[in-house]
Structure formats: C-alpha cells, structure tokens
C-alpha cells in the first residue's frame, strides 16, 4: 500500500456478555480458534493489507492484551516509523481524569494527541467483536474511487447466524450510500438486514474534525452522532464484506463460532492470508498409543493420550489416558487428567481437571471454567 494508513482498534466492546471469559481480559484478548486471540486476526488484517501503524484503544483489563502483544514483534509492528501503540486510558499527558470514556468519540478524543502525531493520510477504525479476513487495501481503493467521506464495512446475514439484539444496521440506497442507521431488534427482518462490521475508513483529517465537532456539542457515540446524524451531509458509503465472519458477543455464540472452524471451507477462508500470533516455541503435538482424535483442532505442545472429539484445543493442553473431551474448547496449558469426561465445556487457561471428574454443559449454555481453576 502506497498510501499511509493508521489502524485504530477499539479493544473492548460495550455490547458483550462473555461472562468469565472477559472477567480478567478485554474482548480483543479473548482466545479464539485454538492458539489465537481475537486481536491476532485484527492485526494480521492490517499487516496483510500493508498497514504498519496501529493504535489500540484500551479501557480496562488490558493487562493480558499488553502481555500478549509485547513489543509487537510477532506482527512485524516493532517499527521505528509507525508500529504498534497501546493507548491506555490514563496515559493522556497531564490527564487527571478517571479513565472512563463517555463513548467511542470520547475515547478517540482523549487519544487524539497520539492520533494527531501520525503522518497517516487515512485511518481504518475497527472494533473487536468481528473476526474476519479482510483486505483493507481494496476498501481504501474503493473509498477513493467513490470519493466517499466515510466507508462503512457491512455484511449480510449468514443462515447459521442469529443477529444479536442491538447490532447496528446500515440501510443504503442502490449506490450503497448509507442513509439510515437503526439497531436490530425483534421487529427487523433478519433476511434483509445489512449490518455494520464495526469497520470504517476515512481521512485522518476528517476524523479529527468530526471528533472535535462532536465533543464540542457533547456528542459521544460514533454510530449515532456521526454515521446517523451526518448521513445526509457526508458521502457515507457501504462496502460489502462477502467472506466468512465470526461474531463474538455471548458465550453460546462464542462456542458456536469456534466450532464452525471445524468446517473446511470456514478454515480455508479464515486462514487464506497468514494470521500471526505470539510464538511460544512449543513442541509439535504428541499423540500417545491410546489416543483417539476425531474432527478436532489441536495446537502445538498438546499431549493427547485420551479421546478428543469435535473440540478445539489451544497450545500445551494435556489429555490423560481414558479422558474423553467432546464438543469443548480447551485453552492454553490446561490439564485434563485420566478418565475425565467433558461435554460442552469451555475451560479457560491453566485449569486442572482432576482424575475422573465429569463436566457437562449444553450447546445453548456451555459450562465455563475460569482461568487457573482446579476442578
């Protein structure tokens, strides 16, 4: 990409109920797809699109995110010019405020000192609720071609995806010009909805003035106060994303979306471009003489002696002899001892499940076991 572009990530979401999974971490550092975290997909999209400058806006619980990202080397974002910048709510110079944001515009405004210093011409803004494999280069080209002020990325309903309440819907004319914003509820027809993927492209100078104007009038919400309010003054265009996406906002959805990775075409679309993540230098997965594994995703460093069916295992998971893991998601370094039986369970990191224990959840309400629990 020859244009200079700054990526801005909102690492948290208001519209999210992931229970124990976001108790100790912000949305973007929630594990997904075995060895990844949501932020990995976001940063990889940037890097694969040639965007080498990324600012991540954090609000709370961002310790695990900072830990995961380190200096940004694994994403090639340890750059002298540009690179990765984590904007914590309390780092504003001279700031004495209490670190909460009144809304997305307020968050942008409170971090404007940093955004302003970037030499980028365009910004790509994204949230952390959607995971996809998207080429921003193409979107920026379409943004320029159509002389758009703002380009809003949208997608259509997938047959196996229930739109969550409150997701912002974009209504467009036949030129994809956005003329109305509303929120999904029971009255909407899910078959005709075009919903926002939370990604926007605009000139950095326009973002700066829109944010300054909104703040001056006490307006804090990007959707309501910029997209909706200004839809007839600005040329806001939709850009349709047509490949696979994952939406993460509830525990049952989290489980279902993970499990979709067991389908070959979903995997192919998700990993068509490389997805970078923290390197752990784990050994390859080891399968013992008595192992039985079927339709599962297994990460490096696992040691499987038991049975694993329709499940997703992150790095360094141990499954003992006689244990049966079904329809479950097991996060990093969790140990499942002999003869344990699990069905519809999400085990967070560093959990130990002792011999012969049994945990059974249901597809609609998976059991979630908190990080470092011993069962």
């Amino acid at each position: 990409m020859s244009m200079k572009v700054l990526g801005i990530v909102f690492s948290y979401a208001d519209r999210e109920n992931l229970r124990e999974l976001t108790k100790i971490r912000t949305l973007s550092s929630v594990p997904f797809g075995g060895k990844y975290r949501i932020i990995d997909f976001i940063l990889s999209n940037f890097v694969n699109s040639g965007i080498q400058e990324v600012s991540i806006i954090t609000r709370n619980n961002y310790h695990s995110l900072i830990d995961h990202l380190g200096s940004g080397k694994e994403w090639d974002l340890t750059r002298k010019i540009g690179g990765l910048r984590i904007l914590s709510p309390f780092s504003n110079p001279g700031g004495t405020d209490n670190g909460t944001y009144l809304g997305t515009i307020d968050a942008l405004s409170k971090n404007m000192h940093s955004i302003k210093r970037s030499l980028a011409e365009y910004v790509v803004i994204t949230g952390s609720s959607f995971i996809c494999s998207i080429d921003y280069d193409e979107i920026i080209r379409s943004h320029i071609d159509r002389q758009a002020d703002i380009t809003a990325v949208y997608a259509r309903q997938r047959p196996d995806f229930e739109l969550p309440d409150g997701i912002p819907l974009l209504r467009m004319d036949d030129q994809e010009r956005v003329n109305e914003l509303c929120y999904f509820n029971d009255d909407c027809d899910p078959n005709t909805t075009t919903f926002s993927l939370g990604m926007f492209v605009l000139r950095k100078s326009l973002l700066e003035s829109l944010v300054a104007d909104s703040i001056a009038y006490g307006r804090y919400d990007f959707y309501r106060d910029i997209i909706q309010r200004l839809s007839n003054q600005l040329n806001i265009r939709g850009y349709e994303y047509r490949k696979n996406y994952f939406e993460i906002s509830s525990v049952s959805g989290y489980m279902k979306e993970n499990m979709r990775l067991l389908k070959e075409d979903v995997r192919r679309q998700t990993f068509e471009m490389p997805v970078y993540t923290k390197v752990k230098d784990s050994v390859p997965a080891q399968y013992g003489a008595g192992s039985k594994v079927s339709n599962s995703i297994i990460s490096d460093g696992c040691r499987i002696e038991g049975t694993v069916i329709n499940s997703i295992l992150s790095r360094g998971v141990v499954v003992g002899k006689g244990a049966v893991v079904q329809n479950s998601i097991v996060m990093q370094n969790t140990e499942i001892m002999r003869n344990v039986s699990l069905n519809y369970v999400i085990l967070d990191k560093d959990v130990i499940v002792r011999e012969s224990r049994q945990l059974v959840g249901h597809e609609t309400y998976p059991v979630v076991i908190e990080k470092k629990s011993i069962i």
Binding site: G34, F271, Y276, D281, P284, Q286, G288, S296, D300
Partner: protein, 408 residues
C-alpha cells in the same frame, strides 16, 4: 564505536558442509538447514544451546547454498538474537584487496574471519558444528575450561568400544588432560569420542590459525591440523565429558534414527523442556486439523497439518496433508507434503513440498526382518510428484518426479 562491549565468549558455527551423505535431502539446502524433529532444523540445536547458555554472539560460517539458511536465520529473532550488540551473523567467504578465496578447511574458515571475531574482543571462542542433535550447556563447559586453566577444551562423549573407531578419539590421563588425539583409530585406546565442540582461549587459537595458514602442507582443519599441532606444542588441552544424548545426523540412517528417538520415551532427548527450549523459526500456519477418519499412534504432528489417515510412529512436519485411508508408519514427512488416499508409506523420509499421489506404496512392504533391525530407509526428494499407483521399494532414493505410466 570504540566503547562497544567486550564479550566473554562468542560462538563460531561451522555450517559449511554440503552433507553429501544425506543425498538428495541436501540438493537444495545446506545440511544444517535440513528439517528435523517435526518443526526444527538441525542448526536450531546448536543455536538454541548457545542462547540457553547465555551466548549472544554467533558467527555462522557457510559457503554452500546459503540462501535458504540465510532466509531461515534472518535477523535472528526466533532465537532472541536480533541484538544491537552481537546477535547472529552469516559469514560467507569474501574478497580482500587482491582476491577472494573459498574456505579451504574448518580452520581456514575461522582464519578468514579473525576480523569478525576481534570485533567482540572475546576471551574465549566456542567452535561448533551444525550437524549434531544434542542439548548442552556450554556455560558449564566454559566453567570447566576456566577451572582447569586450559588452552583448549574438547567436549567428548563415552561411546561403546566397538563404535569408537568411527570417531576422533581423545586419549587422556587421570585428570582428563589430553595427551593424544587419534582420528578414527583402528584400535582405539579410549572410548572418549570428540563431539566437535571446542573452547579455545582466543589469543592462543589465533596464533595457531595464523601459523597454520603459512603451512602449505596443512589442510587447515581443526581435527587434522590445529589440535595435533597444539598437542605437539604441549598446550594444556582437556577433555570435557558430556553425559547426555548426542547424535551425529550426517547420514540418512542416523537422521531417521535421531527422529525416531524423539518418539521413544526410553531415549533421553526430551524437547518439551521449558527451561531449555529449542527455538526455531515458526511459520504462520493455523493449528492442525484431525479429521473423522484419523488414527494416530505414538506420533508427533505439527501446525497446519490436515490429517485424515493413519499415522503411526512417525514425525509429521508442518503443513502436511494425509488423506483418508492413507497410512504412514515409521516415517518422517517434511513440511508441505501431501499424501494421497490409499497410499502406504513406511520407513521413508519424504522431503518438503512433495506430492504423493493415490495408492502409492513407498518403502518397506511386509518383509520379515531379524529383531532389532529395520528395513532400509527410502528417501523421496523435495518438491516432486509421485504419480498414482507408483511402488517404490525399501532403501530407494528418488530425486525426480515419477510420472503416471501410460495406460497400456
């Protein structure tokens, strides 16, 4: 600038060899870059040993097909060697004012890089080679070297008497001082074999390298020239006995064996060893997917694999596809290989990116062999295509694609 830091010990890694005994496996890459152990390359072992021993300056001497090695080493980041001071540097031969010359021997390779070494002003230099699998703490060896007040310390391993004649053998007195070195002696006087790991006091070594260079009859080799000359001059040379797992992987047979050792819990080479990790350059592949028809027994499988067949006693590298109904046993399958439905692979090493068609038979059939022996290992070369229904016998080496037979 002049105030750059002095290093206590730096390592020089001899990675020059073509490794012709590995046959077609080194057609495209230098021996140290040959894949090993499911996700590593041979050179990851000495480099990781250095890093884990606190050595942060490593020169890699190479002149044969360095491109892949260069790309693999890159800026050294996977081994935490992307340093402002020190780090890892590939050292090929170069031209001086008058002319250039290729490395004539191991000692000449170091001689040609005296200037590189002097930049770090080290007290000690560790000389390593790039074709052994082992985990060793060179810091402990250095402590021993210092404590003995040695000029040179050579790491040795106690081998069975009947094998000693295949190695360079150190004859030592009761204090492990070396009084004689014999290269592959017919009747070994000792069973202490040199591991090709040396620590030298740099000033001393430098003097010998410079002297050796003027000796027109010298082969400029450590084992053949430098060590004997130092012994002759009665320098203080000690053997340092290493007790762990160590294996030369210079032949197809030994490369296969060393891989199989990783699957054998009886053999003391555990790679899952957090304080002594073996680092390697990771690809960017998703986790492996194990299909509904897979059967996996005592095997090691890496990222990006797509396994729907049967894998037994085998090492499967990243990005390998094994289709439904295919069977792989006692084999090593390097990155990016595809094995088609119904194929049977046994006692075979398949090099990277090769495609095995449907119903192919590679390697040993159902021979009955004496206990403790195994069929000859077949080797299939890199980036070739083996057509459907091909049969390759045990011990064969296939370097070119095999096309489908014309229908009769």
């Amino acid at each position: 600038m002049s105030n750059a830091k002095k290093k206590e010990m730096i390592a020089m890694l001899l990675a020059g060899g073509q490794g012709s005994r590995l046959g077609i496996l080194t057609n495209h890459v230098a021996k140290p870059a040959v894949p090993f152990g499911g996700k590593y390359r041979i050179i990851d072992f000495p480099i990781s040993n250095c890093v884990n021993s606190g050595i942060d300056t490593i020169g890699v001497l190479t002149q044969y097909r360095p491109l892949e090695l260069n790309a693999y080493i890159g800026n050294g980041q996977p081994w935490d060697l992307d340093r402002l001071f020190g780090g890892i540097t590939i050292l090929p031969p170069y031209m001086k004012a008058e002319a250039g010359e290729w490395y004539k021997g191991t000692a000449n390779a170091i001689y040609q890089n005296i200037e590189y070494i002097e930049m770090s002003r080290p007290t000690y230099v560790l000389i390593l080679s790039g074709d052994h699998i082992y985990k060793m703490n060179y810091k402990m060896m250095l402590d021993y070297h210092v404590q003995k007040g040695a000029d040179c310390t050579i790491a040795v391993i106690d081998v069975p008497y009947e094998e000693a004649s295949r190695f360079g053998v150190m004859n030592t007195d009761g204090t492990l001082k070396i009084y004689e070195f014999e290269e592959k002696p017919a009747n070994p006087k000792s069973t202490l074999a040199s591991m090709g790991v040396y620590i030298f006091n740099w000033e001393k070594l430098k003097a010998y390298l410079i002297a050796d260079e003027t000796d027109k009859k010298s082969e400029n080799d450590f084992g053949k020239n430098i060590i004997p000359k130092m012994l002759e001059a009665d320098e203080k040379m000690y053997a340092y006995e290493y007790k762990g797992y160590w294996k030369d992987v210079g032949t197809v047979e030994s490369l296969w064996e060393a891989n199989m050792d990783l699957l054998n819990p009886e053999v003391p080479i555990e790679l899952n060893d957090p304080p002594w990790k073996i680092y390697s350059r990771n690809g960017f592949l998703p986790p492996q997917y194990i299909g509904e028809n897979a059967v996996l027994k005592n095997s090691s499988i890496s990222e990006g694999c797509n396994i729907d067949g049967t894998i037994e006693n085998s090492i499967i590298f990243p990005g390998v596809t094994v289709q439904k109904g295919a069977t792989v046993s006692n084999s090593i399958v390097m990155p990016g290989v595809t094995i088609g439905e119904g194929s049977v692979v046994a006692y075979t090493i398949i090099a990277a990116d090769t495609v095995i068609g449907l119903n192919v038979k590679l390697g040993a059939g159902k021979e009955t062999l004496p206990e403790g022996t195994h069929p000859d290992i077949s080797v299939i070369g890199q980036n070739i295509i083996i057509a459907d229904d091909t049969v390759i016998p045990a011990g064969a080496m296939v370097g070119e694609s095999i096309a489908k037979k014309e229908s009769e």
